[in-house]
Amino acid sequence: MTVNGAGVTASVEPRTHLADFLRESMLLTGTHLGCEHGVCGACTVLIDGAPARACIAFAAACDGVFVTTIEGLEDDPVMARLRAAFTAEHALQCGYCTPGMLVTARDIVLRLPDADEARVRLELAGNLCRCTGYVGIVRAILRVLAEAPAPDVVAPQPLPRATFALPVAEPVVPVLPGGEVLAQRLRIAAPLAAVWAAVQNPALIAECVPGARLTLQDGPNIAGDLALALGPMKARFAGRAEVTFGPGHLAQVRGEGRDALSGTRLTADATVALQADRDATVMELQVRYSLRGPLAQFARSAVVAAFAAEIAETVGKNLAARLTGTAPPVARRMGLGRLVLSVVRRWLFSLLS
């Protein structure tokens, strides 16, 4: 790559980001590092002439580019005016954000010669300063904008014309609305008739669900609560549901609950379908649910899916144990450390896929 006009050839680890390369290998420490995830703007440099975050560009992926750091702008006429204005308007205190601020300020002056205060503030939203309250920085940029017209800037390169094949579009299969869908398939070591009878007995089912308590049963209406824990997050959903049974060993549960502690609301619509599989029974469970409120911020769909899979597995084992007369497995409370590990791992993998 070319850094501040000089060609540089180096062998770097792929994971080394551009800001570290500039600071550690090139000793260009004017590029500062704040957040290292592209939010604070302290590391803003020019890549091929345009401002960019050096902390989320990888040096090895910058093969052949032109990098200009704050050091490389020493003799730049616009930067000279900005430095003077920053001094005059007291636009810096500790100086940590200043290199990034100056690179962004130069871009504003060159690209938006007619910018007013509101626009300058909008454009500065990507550079954080913890000292000045931005007042001095905004004034400094406005001063340079008002002083003299910026030199002519090279117009951006037009995009190359291309020809893309446009085949017939695939038919639309929209993702169903109404929340996340969760599907589970369980094999229970008990005959169909016994499992079907159990499914129609909410008290028995509740006993098989760790943390669940049935408080009311009145015809199709049931009420109860369910204690859940996921790492540091704990909740007790209290609510009610309506259970209906159809032909073909099909049960439908519609319910809603609320966690009093966090105020999170849960609505769910579940279908349970049973099918004989020799001496055993296959239970297909499909749940459409939505979470609203504070817990929904953390309980991402993939996390909930992994969590529910663990619960369903335990329920299946407990149910089979009850129906076959063997002692039920330990009715462990959900959300132990073991579970958190598997949930977190699955969540991270799901982000990858």
């Binding site: 980001h17 990888f58 992926a61 291309a162 893309f164 579009a169 799901s350």
Partner: protein, 237 residues
């Protein structure tokens, strides 16, 4: 934080890129404005990164009488600067202008944003409302409603790359509204909605949900589910 170790393999063309991306645990790197932070946080730890932003096959634009097709690695800044032909009402440039910050728009790409499929990103919701199609390296043309399958999930198969996005042009008299709620300009939206009224097409799409953008329907909704959608409808007139 610093990213965990990974390998980097520069493909010379699309064929090599798709071959590399067929490898287990590989990930395409376009502008890297979402992937970069996630790598630094070690939320993602691919073993192989395949930089594709330099591939000429992904950087072009095509305009026909019916549509504008944008290469996957065209940046938000290029779209905001009007380097992509207008589909009508300057819609694409207006959306691009509101994405993150200029320093991010200079690197971030339309295709990268779609493939990352963050529910709070601008393109998944707006391109769904515009009825755009994803064109892939396997010759598939996937309607945007099928392409985004959920939070961070797309219809792409391993080794399949998004090549371009075909966006239909708007008819005369079309109306468009797009509103997102952010506490600070440039941050990820907490709520968003886009509305397109174009002849017989009447679409309202709600984004920044826990999953894929939700199409309210090809008919205008009777009620207004939320203040953001209401504002988008108002903007569309």
């Amino acid at each position: 934080m610093k990213a965990a170790s990974f390998d980097l393999a520069y493909p010379v063309d699309l064929a090599e890129a798709t071959a590399l991306l067929a490898r287990a645990d590989s990930r395409a790197l376009a502008g890297g404005q979402s992937l970069g932070p996630m790598l630094n946080f070690r939320l993602v730890r691919p073993s192989l990164l395949v930089p594709i932003a330099g591939l000429a096959a992904l950087r072009g634009v095509e305009e026909t009488a019916q549509s504008v097709t944008i290469g996957a690695c065209v940046t938000h800044a290029a779209i905001a600067d009007g380097l992509v032909p207008d589909i009508g009402l300057n819609v694409l440039a207006r959306v691009a202008e509101g994405i993150a910050y200029r320093a991010v728009r200079n690197r971030g790409t339309i295709g990268g944003s779609l493939c990352h499929a963050d529910p709070a990103a601008d393109w998944p919701t707006t391109l769904t409302a515009l009825g755009a199609d994803a064109l892939t390296s396997r010759g598939r043309r996937i309607p945007m409603q099928n392409f985004i399958r959920g939070a961070f999930q797309t219809a792409l198969q391993p080794g399949e790359l998004l090549v371009a996005v075909a966006v239909p042009k708007l008819g005369a008299g079309a109306r468009w509204g797009y509103v997102k709620a952010c506490r600070k300009p440039g941050e990820f939206a907490h709520a968003m909605a886009a509305v397109l009224i174009d002849g017989a097409v009447r679409r309202a799409v709600i984004g920044a949900t826990g999953g894929a953008p939700q199409m309210v329907g090809d008919a205008m909704p009777g009620g207004l589910p939320g203040v953001v959608l209401a504002r988008a409808l108002a903007e569309a007139g």
